[in-house]
């Protein structure tokens, strides 16, 4: 097995696949994460906003969104989005990224909502009593306090997202396409070096290192935010 690992690592073409896959995994995760964070934030605000007549339709749409995207497997969502909703030639990788983003947004929205709900409701009352509007109080007083509670959950979600994107190759991937990620690289290498344990171990190490770096980043942010709290 060691011989196979060395064989893979010393072959320029095969290591090229790995680094291309690594780059694509990171890129897909990053874009999907940004989309997910944006969606999740908006949905969380809508869900937590006062329940008045003109907010109600938005609340219903957001409820359906989180229910559907958290309630069905992401692989199924991927196939439906790629082969049905966005069945446009050449759009496949983008459809996949959008799917991961939308799926992640459903989870992120719940993390953010829970983070906001964990802030003492006296804070909202104190803000309103001073004359701030609901939105002003949310932005200036509640959200800055909620962020601390949200960051660890978001970190978790980003780690899950990175690994989730490893199914992107299922919709078909060839080197050179955005859908050719780390996992796809492992499969392609298998064709030259027929030892899946070897290529799998190498790719697994890459995933592990990225996740570890993400964990460190989350810890760093947490420590930064804890500074003005005693």
């Amino acid at each position: 097995m060691f011989a196979d690992i060395i064989k893979i690592l010393s072959n320029a073409e095969l290591t090229g696949y790995i680094f291309e896959g690594l780059w694509h995994s990171l890129l897909v995760t990053l874009i999907a994460a940004l989309l997910g964070l944006f969606l999740g934030f908006v949905v969380a605000i809508v869900k937590i906003a006062p329940n008045n007549a003109w907010m109600r339709p938005f609340k219903i749409v957001c409820d359906i969104y989180t229910t559907v995207f958290r309630g069905t497997p992401v692989a199924l969502q991927l196939f439906i989005m790629v082969f049905a909703v966005f069945a446009i030639p050449g759009f496949k990788p983008y459809a996949a990224i959008i799917t991961f983003g939308i799926n992640s947004g459903a989870y992120v929205s719940e993390s953010i909502r829970a983070g906001i709900a964990s802030v003492d409701k006296g804070q909202m009352e104190a803000g309103r009593a001073l004359g701030f509007t609901w939105l002003q109080t949310m932005i200036r007083i509640v959200l800055p306090q909620a962020v601390k509670n949200i960051i660890p959950a978001i970190g978790n979600e980003m780690i899950a997202l990175l690994k989730e994107t490893s199914i992107i190759g299922w919709v078909g991937s060839t080197p050179g396409s955005l859908t050719f990620d780390l996992n796809a690289a492992a499969s392609t290498i298998f064709r030259s070096v027929p030892n899946y344990l070897a290529s799998g171990l190498i790719v697994g190490c890459f995933y592990l290192v990225i996740v570890y770096i993400m964990v460190l980043i989350v810890k760093l942010i947490e420590r930064r935010l804890a500074k003005n709290e005693r």
Partner: protein
């Protein structure tokens, strides 16, 4: 105190229900400029709910609240609803009896109540629409102090005081800071300007909460059991600040269990029980010769 001026706050027939629980059952009170009103009563009597209705942190079920001559809450059609239903029912009964006279009377009655109901409903709706836009401006004029202080933990003491005046009244940072520093000096906490709330004692927190509200230069201050969450030794320092404030002529409504404060600082004391004002009097009379049985019982337990 000044009879020539219209009241700052005028409350009429205020009701508040939480689902099946009727907390307020018709409160009427005028708060005049310079009044210091102590609100006392057993726990669960609705005194905190009453206070929270005054700046609409709690939306009343029906009644009227007029703040500085303008309705900030008006719902009179809710009370007529039951009457309207009764009239409709009476109409049904009359129809069944086939008595022409009875039908006519019921018809007239129904028409009258329907007109009144619809007129009130229209006015209520107009008020609601207008208040939606103005309530945040009104709240700037109504300071509020909470039992749990509710300081903003992510901001320093100084930032707690300058945030609202800067963002809502358009003060520059320098102006807001100058004013905040003066206020902090007044309550003897100028050395805490750059501390975070978590590092302060309860009494210090509450004094900061009071000046945070004062920084907006409100016309009336509402206190919701401001000393109830404090260690006994810290109650004095907070009451002292409130007493000074009263002496300066601030209009105050104070929900409290501090009978000493009610006796010595307030000019009116009201007793709420079962969601209504059972007794209102100047403090001497209130404490020396209570008339309401429930109040007598209450005073005998707390004094």
């Amino acid at each position: 105190m000044n009879a020539n001026l219209p009241p700052i706050l005028s409350v009429r027939d205020l009701h508040k229900e939480f689902k099946d629980l009727k907390v307020l059952r018709g409160i009427d009170i005028d708060v005049n400029k310079g009044d210091v009103i102590a609100v006392i009563g057993p726990s669960g009597c609705g005194k905190s709910t009453f206070l929270r209705c005054l700046n609409l942190l709690e939306t009343p079920t029906s009644g009227e609240i007029v703040f500085e001559g303008e309705h900030v809450f008006r719902n009179k059609h809710a009370l007529l609803k039951e009457e309207y239903r009764q009239a409709k029912k009476a109409m049904q009964t009359a129809k069944l009896s086939r008595d022409k006279q009875a039908i006519e009377t019921a018809q007239d009655e129904l028409q009258k109540i329907k007109t009144a109901y619809e007129a009130e409903a229209r006015l209520d709706k107009e008020t609601e629409k207008r208040v939606k836009k103005t309530i945040d401006i009104h709240r700037q004029q109504i300071g509020m102090v909470f039992q749990q202080f509710n300081l903003f933990p992510h901001l320093t003491v100084l930032q707690n005081l300058t945030l609202a005046p800067q963002k809502l009244k358009g003060l520059t940072e320098a102006e807001a800071t100058q004013k905040a520093t003066a206020l902090l000096k007044k309550v003897g906490l100028e050395d805490k300007a750059n501390a975070y709330p978590a590092t302060l004692s309860g009494g210090q927190k509450q004094r900061i909460a009071i000046v945070r509200a004062l920084a907006m230069e409100p016309d009336v201050m509402l206190f919701d059991e401001p000393t109830s969450a404090l260690d006994p030794e810290m109650v004095g320092e907070v009451l002292k600040v409130m007493t000074e404030l009263a002496k300066e002529g601030m209009t105050m409504v104070v929900v409290t269990h501090e009978m000493g404060f009610a006796k010595e600082v307030a000019n009116r004391v009201i007793f709420i029980d079962g969601g209504v004002i059972k007794e209102e009097n100047p403090p001497q009379e209130f404490f020396s010769s209570p008339k309401d049985e429930r109040l007598k019982d209450f005073l005998s337990k707390v004094l």
